[in-house]
Symmetry: C2
Subunit: 150 residues, 2 copies
DNA sequence: AATATATGTATGTTGTGAACAATAATTATT
DNA sequence: AATAATTATTGTTCACAACATACATATATT
């Protein structure tokens, strides 16, 4: 039974159109796998992203806006995403001293543990892109960046 | 203010890791633009995808499962996606004669009109990938397909 | 033919998260 | 001091994924 993927070739699609579909397909392919893996840790991609941002800054703390700016998907409702992480004990929130409008967010020990567990058991990037040589990946990166230059 | 995107270079990321982030970023970039554009037509990406599948088969009708298999994102709750399209009058549903479990779904005239209006006013693919030469797009396609070969 | 199994669709429920608006608290600006 | 801008939260609505269940109809098995 042919899938959209398999049909791409049977229809007369221009390579640009094919490229567009390919990009979405591949990204979904990757994201689906990431999500599937993170499921084991009861984390969504968004939540995982936030934890990584927090770890990157550790031991410094991050504000809501700081996180928001760095997320892959903008338009994030950071407050409620952090709510969920806090509820799981992966993150702590305290009111900032300097600017009391702000809330300092920090990854907890538990969150750190969770992340390193994830990191240790797999290296997503290498697994998922393992079909490509490093030269190819470099080329890929160049092109993807070009697309976003628009 | 640096974004995740800009930060990629300042951190010591391997190119594979960078490739992964790049793929997600670029796909989101494209999808966000598509969504933004489709917003004008009160369509989501999922709904747009279904309409295109239906048009492709027109004047043949499609069943729920047929559509499901061809969607970019599997795991689609086709019934309720089609519900929304039906409510807007873009799609019609009738019980199948041959197999009365099935429901024949067809794009309506209004749906057709909507789609061609979208097509006429923009060619997504060419616009979005316009920074790449056709050689580059071919290369890109090869690599993206390789990734999904896994 | 009667029964069991498979299939196609619909429905119910829960949770994530996007979109958009409104509010409260605090700080900056004039 | 008064006004504006910033930060985070809250509220609401909707799309959709995930998972289970129900139900009618087809098909297979005995």
């Amino acid at each position: 039974m042919p899938t959209e993927e398999e049909l791409m070739n049977s229809y007369n699609l221009g390579i640009y159109q094919k490229g567009l579909i390919n990009l979405i397909l591949t990204s979904d392919f990757i994201q689906t796998r990431l999500e599937y893996y993170l499921q084991e840790y009861d984390l969504t991609l968004q939540q995982y992203g936030i934890l990584r941002i927090l770890r990157r800054e550790y031991p410094n703390k991050c504000t809501n806006n700081f996180i928001k700016e760095r997320m892959l998907r903008k338009s994030a409702d950071t407050t409620r995403l952090v709510d969920r992480l806090e509820k799981k004990g992966l993150v702590t929130r305290t009111q900032s001293q300097n600017d009391r409008r702000r809330v300092d967010i920090s990854i907890s020990d538990k969150g750190m543990g969770q992340l390193s567990q994830i990191d240790n058991s797999i290296t997503f990037s290498e697994r998922l892109l393992s079909e490509l040589t490093s030269n190819e990946v470099s080329e890929l990166n160049k092109m993807l960046e070009k697309i976003r230059m628009e």
